[in-house]
């Protein structure tokens, strides 16, 4: 009995998704590389290992090349400024040379994690003596991962300073996954360290931009617009086509897309470093300056954050002043903090400053009259606000009541 016949009959019950009937493809013998000349025209050449091969594509850009609003050479300046700045930050390239940074991105056959999501293109760019080098490792057929990873790992030696966009959650775990499958045939993955610029983009622009997709960031922050770009989500389809008909023209657009990604990462690193290293706020928007301050505060550089908060004006000014008071309090400069709180208590409907003052007068000064005054004024402000979460509201209200009762008791003693 033929199972093939049944298979076709029961097709409807199987989750096969939409797919056209495939043309019958005859496999190419591995030793003759099809379309070799076209590959050469794309600056790519095969890398052979045990009869299988992957393509390695390399390209150079001059340091003075203008990519959007930035020239690659500005990376030198940025790295130098990090080196001469004494504060530490996750994006800092202190103790590094520009050439230590590898700007890295991959293209895969699917979305999300999972063993079967194959990486078919690894790309990185690097700042070298001769200029910017673009290096790409392409998987011409699914059996050729060993030569692809071999070529890649031979070239990179070290991955301590990868710069990516969402590489922490996606690209790198996926590299580890696919590498695990062939771990006995290729070198070990080196120790890896990471600058994930997506995190910074979210911090700086989440509220300002509709989406912080790299393409949007390029357009709105880096002044770079792509011509005839193949959107990333089409890459898997094009690759599936290529696998059936290995004509490099099908995939040239994807190579170009990846190349532009890893070049944009250089200028994005320049842009973000500029934002973080701008201590006077000359070149940043008010919002960016506030976010820069918050980031510095979050990484523990409070003095520096305080400097930046002081300069913040505009719509974030109140938040900045509260943050400043918070830093003062933490550092023990209560007098400075109180000045800010008192001012905010008088001039705004923000109840947090009132609470801080109530705490201060209750516990430090033991001035219960003043403490009660601020506790009540805070409660009043809080009551005037609309709230969404019922149970949270109740627990907050109880806190207020507890505080007020306690102070009243102390006062009456």
């Amino acid at each position: 009995m033929s199972r093939k016949g049944k298979l076709n009959r029961m097709k409807k019950h199987m989750n096969l998704g939409e797919g056209e009937e495939a043309p019958h493809i005859v496999d190419q013998p591995v030793h003759s590389v099809p379309h070799l000349q076209k590959w050469r025209d794309l600056d790519a050449s095969p890398f052979f290992l045990d009869g299988e091969y992957a393509f390695v594509r390399t390209k150079q850009y001059p340091k003075t090349y203008q990519h959007g609003r930035y020239v690659f050479q500005e990376l030198e300046d940025v790295v130098e400024r990090w080196n001469s700045f004494h504060r530490s930050h996750p994006l800092s390239s202190k103790h590094l040379n520009p050439s230590d940074l590898l700007f890295f991105d991959t293209e895969t056959t699917g979305l999300g994690g999972g063993v079967g999501n194959t990486i078919f293109l690894l790309g990185y760019s690097q700042y070298t003596e001769k200029g910017i080098s673009v290096n790409q490792y392409f998987l011409p057929s699914p059996g050729a991962e060993v030569p692809m990873y071999q070529a890649f790992l031979e070239d990179v030696k070290e991955l301590k300073n990868l710069v990516t966009y969402n590489g922490k959650a996606f690209d790198w775990p996926q590299v580890k996954t696919r590498h695990t499958l062939i771990r006995e045939q290729v070198p070990k993955l080196p120790q890896f360290g990471h600058f994930d610029l997506l995190h910074g983009a979210r911090r700086f622009w989440k509220n300002e931009m509709e989406s912080v997709r790299l393409a949007n960031v390029e357009e709105q922050q880096l002044g770079f617009t792509r011509n005839e770009d193949i959107p990333g989500y089409l890459a898997p389809m094009l690759y599936f086509e290529f696998v059936k008909d290995p004509d490099p023209e099908l995939i040239a657009g994807v190579l170009k897309h990846n190349e532009e990604d890893i070049l944009s990462l250089i200028t994005l690193y320049i842009r973000m470093s500029n934002l973080l290293l701008d201590h006077e706020g000359k070149s940043l928007s008010a919002a960016e300056q506030f976010q820069s301050a918050r980031w510095w505060e979050a990484v523990g550089e409070e003095d520096h954050a305080a400097q930046l908060y002081k300069q913040t004006t505009g719509r974030h000014e109140r938040e900045a002043r509260k943050a400043l008071a918070r830093i003062y309090k933490k550092q023990g400069s209560l007098d400075k903090a109180i000045l800010i709180w008192e001012d905010l208590s008088e001039s705004t409907n923000d109840e947090e400053s009132d609470i801080e003052l109530a705490k201060y007068f209750e516990h430090k000064e033991r001035d219960y009259e003043k403490a009660l005054y601020y506790a009540l004024s805070g409660y009043q402000k809080w009551k005037n606000k609309k709230r969404i979460l019922k149970d949270k509201e109740e627990s907050e209200r109880l806190q207020y009541m507890k505080r007020i009762e306690r102070i009243e008791q102390k006062e009456s003693r």
């Binding site: 998704g17 056209e20 056959t109 979305l111 063993v115 079967g116």
Partner: protein, 765 residues
């Protein structure tokens, strides 16, 4: 106020009070059984032995000792263990021993549900704490937080999970589990008997995938399975694991005295042979038990029955037992609700629980004293499992089986030997069901490429791989097949439900608090969640206001009405292929492949208590299509003339009713898994025909089994029809004559006699 009675007094009351006494058909007392033990095996790690001694375990039951020996010799086995016989030690002992001796070893435990895994985690961790060793047992399920997940993957010695997680979260990410797969020594499959039918066929394939991954990482674990009593534990374990399995069947655990009471409700209409409703009788018995503070579990066969019984029994709460002392428990409740109920039963806050077979499994609800089965659960194995809920340890306990009017129940209650003497049923899986197989070959290809000559659990799947290549899911190059698609195949494959997508049930009673209260598979939704249907959930009635069939959402609102709804399904069948033929005396039985088109047509509103029909309405839902396996036999076309079309139709309908209920006696399945459809003029032959078909696409071996056992099934059907005392049809045989027609019984009997070789005068085919 009258004093509460203790169980022995209550039993005495049941035996002597007229209103119960006369309905008790059989009262069988199963005497207590002494423990059979064996000394501790010598090889057990001293620290483990000491920990067990500290817990008062100074020798093993015989089956536990055998289990340890088999495991240490590297043999895979299945241990058959009834409820509460210390089965967990059958696997915990060898597993802990292995890990203590080589701490790099890992074990994987599979439980059919999340709840069971959580129970077992607490149990094994208590033992581990007692030993004060650095050994970690973790559950891994949908509730595990991301930070813990990391730890489980890297450092969990024992990972406790369920097949669904293995299928969709572990295997497709196996590279994150290298340390587990490289060092996997033991795979434990608890509650093996639950892996049957569609679910079992899926799980068998998940295990094929698991073994592929193990061999990729160079491990070759043994399988330890535990099972309730079924006819074929060894065969089932072998089919599921693809390994040679040793059977351990020397259960040495003691049991308490158990009273097994078969109860047949009184006949209320002699002519129609209609009995009082089993639901009402079960309610009365449960009320007697509950109001005397006897913790009782009531099992009902369907979700609807559970809810109806719950509604009845919760009236006790108000008057006597206090709020939230009686709860329902079934699939469709959210996990949190279920956890609360389990806990309430253990700590005694909940006195009574009404459940579907969901509580048949080893969910730890402590020890109940009484168990009431509303209707025969359909299989002997299930009955023993449910009965095991009462008196788990050494106390006296009682089990009532209240028969309904269905032919199966009446057969069982009038043939007590059948129940007490016969072997329990076989559990069947069909891992090579084409649809299931293809789904898992896809998942497997995603996990690792297939090589030329690779089998999938011993099955040659090259044709499947070629098919998937043509469908553009795989890419064939040189000697390998690679996954070449952007999808994540495991997400589209559900191990549990027959149809792939579930309908979500949304309560919109209060506009400010619209919430999801449950879900249901699509095929069932056609008849249970159509618009205007009354859907019962935790005893609360909801009316379906809108069924968005496209979006798979049912919007319901709470109502308070005195009826429930029941829907009709119209079915059309086409024969696609005839695979096997078997000669009956005058006709032929055929096994093959069919296409079924089913459509919900109308629903009826049926009043509680009186069960009368108080209204009806149409259902507007699209037709569902199903390719499946079927078994059928036909009658000569001439019957239409000789008997008249009406009369023949009545006979076929009646015969269909009997067969629908008898067939599950021989095939371990639910009445709803195997459909019986009589047709006066089958499309393929124009002949009067009766079809049996599997409700799952591609079939799971049920109709095949019917085909093999047809002779016996027909014989039993005949003995039911002949033996029934009614005049012209009743719910216990061919159905009520008002519904099937007044000649139904007589004609069905004639048709059965024809099938069984009488009436040799009619030979024309």
């Amino acid at each position: 106020m009258e004093r509460k009675k203790k169980l022995p007094q209550l039993l005495d009351m049941f035996q002597h009070e007229e209103k119960y006494k006369s309905n008790i058909v059989t009262w069988k007392t199963i005497e207590p059984k002494e423990a059979k033990t064996a000394p501790f095996p010598k090889g057990v790690a001293p620290v483990l032995r000491e920990a067990l001694l500290n817990r008062g375990i100074n020798e093993l039951y015989t089956h536990q000792a055998t289990a340890y020996e088999e495991a240490t010799e590297g043999n895979s086995f299945v241990a058959v263990t009834p409820t509460a016989s210390g089965k967990t030690l059958c696997y915990n002992l060898p597993v802990l021993d292995t890990i203590l001796k080589d701490p790099s070893s890992r074990a994987l435990y599979l439980f059919p549900t999340k709840a069971l895994a959580q129970d077992q985690k607490s149990e094994i961790n208590e033992l581990i704490d007692e030993m004060e060793v650095d050994l970690k047992g973790y559950t891994y399920d949908g509730d595990t937080s991301p930070t813990i997940r990391q730890i489980v993957r890297k450092a969990g010695h024992i990972v406790m999970t369920n097949p669904d997680m293995l299928h969709s979260a572990i295997l497709p990410h196996h590279t994150k589990w290298v340390s587990l797969f490289e060092n996997l020594k033991v795979i434990v499959i608890d509650e093996l008997h639950t892996y049957r039918g569609v679910f079992g066929s899926h799980v068998a394939n998940v295990i094929r995938r698991l073994k592929r991954i193990c061999s990729f990482y160079g491990s070759n674990p043994i399988f330890i399975c535990t099972s309730a009593t079924i006819a074929n534990p060894k065969e089932l374990a072998e089919e599921l694991t693809g390994e040679e399995i040793t059977l351990i069947n020397n259960n040495g655990a003691p049991t308490g005295r158990k009273h097994f009471v078969l109860y047949n409700p009184p006949v209320v209409n002699q002519a129609l042979n209609i009995r009082r409703s089993a639901t009402l009788e079960a309610r009365n018995i449960a009320v007697e038990l509950l109001r005397n503070n006897i913790q009782t579990i009531v099992f009902a066969r369907s979700r609807v029955r559970v809810e109806i019984l719950l509604k009845y029994l919760q009236q006790l709460e108000q008057r006597e037992l206090g709020p939230r002392s009686i709860m329902g428990y079934r699939g469709g409740y959210l996990p949190k609700q279920r956890r609360e109920i389990e806990q309430g039963l253990r700590n005694g806050k909940i006195k009574g629980v009404v459940s579907t077979n969901a509580l048949e499994l080893g969910v730890d609800i402590g020890q109940l004293q009484a168990c009431v089965l509303t209707g025969y659960p359909g299989t002997i194995a299930s009955t023993w499992q449910q009965a095991g809920r009462a008196g788990r340890r050494q106390d006296e306990s009682v089990v009532f089986v209240v028969a309904s009017s269905s032919p199966l129940d009446q057969y069982m209650i009038t043939h007590p030997d059948y129940f007490f003497e016969r072997n329990p049923e076989e559990a069947r899986v069909n891992p090579n069901n084409l649809i299931i197989l293809v789904d898992h070959v896809k998942c497997a290809a995603y996990e690792l490429p297939f090589k030329q000559g690779d089998t999938f659990g011993g099955e040659d799947v090259e044709d499947v791989l070629e098919f998937l290549t043509e469908e553009q899911l795989l890419h064939h190059r040189a000697d390998r097949w690679f996954w070449m698609n952007d999808a994540f195949p495991a997400h589209n494959v559900s191990l549990r439900s027959a149809s792939q997508e579930n309908v979500v049930i949304i309560d919109q009673t209060t506009a400010a608090n619209v919430k999801v209260i449950g879900e249901m598979d699509r095929f069932s939704a056609m008849t249970l969640l159509h618009e205007e249907a009354i859907y019962l959930h935790q005893g609360v009635q909801y009316q379906v206001e809108l069924l968005d069939y496209e979006e798979k959402k049912a919007w319901v609102r709470e109502v308070d009405v005195d009826y429930y709804t029941d829907a009709n399904l119209a079915v059309q069948l086409k024969v696609l292929e005839e695979d096997q033929h078997d000669q009956l005396p005058h006709t032929t039985a055929t096994y093959g492949e069919v296409m079924v088109n089913a459509m919900a047509t109308i629903f009826k509103k049926i009043k509680f208590e009186t069960h009368e029909n108080i209204g009806s309405g149409p259902i507007h839902l699209p037709e569902e299509e199903l390719h499946t396996n079927a078994c059928w036999f036909e009658f000569p076309e001439s019957f239409v003339q000789t008997m008249g079309e009406n009369r023949l139709e009545e006979g076929l309908l009646g015969l269909g009713n009997v067969l629908r209920n008898v067939a599950p006696l021989f095939v371990m399945c639910d009445v709803s898994d195997l459909h019986v459809t009589p047709q006066i003029k089958a499309i393929h032959s124009n002949k009067p025909t009766i079809f049996f078909y599997d409700r799952y696409p591609g079939g799971i071996g049920l109709s095949e089994r019917v085909y093999q056992e047809l002779g016996l099934i027909l014989k039993e059907a005949e003995s039911i029809v002949v033996g029934c005392e009614c005049e012209s049809g009743c719910p216990s045989c061919v159905g009520v004559s008002g519904e099937t027609g007044e000649n139904s019984k007589e004609t069905a009997r004639y048709l059965l006699e024809y099938l069984r070789g009488e009436h040799s005068d009619v030979t024309e085919g």
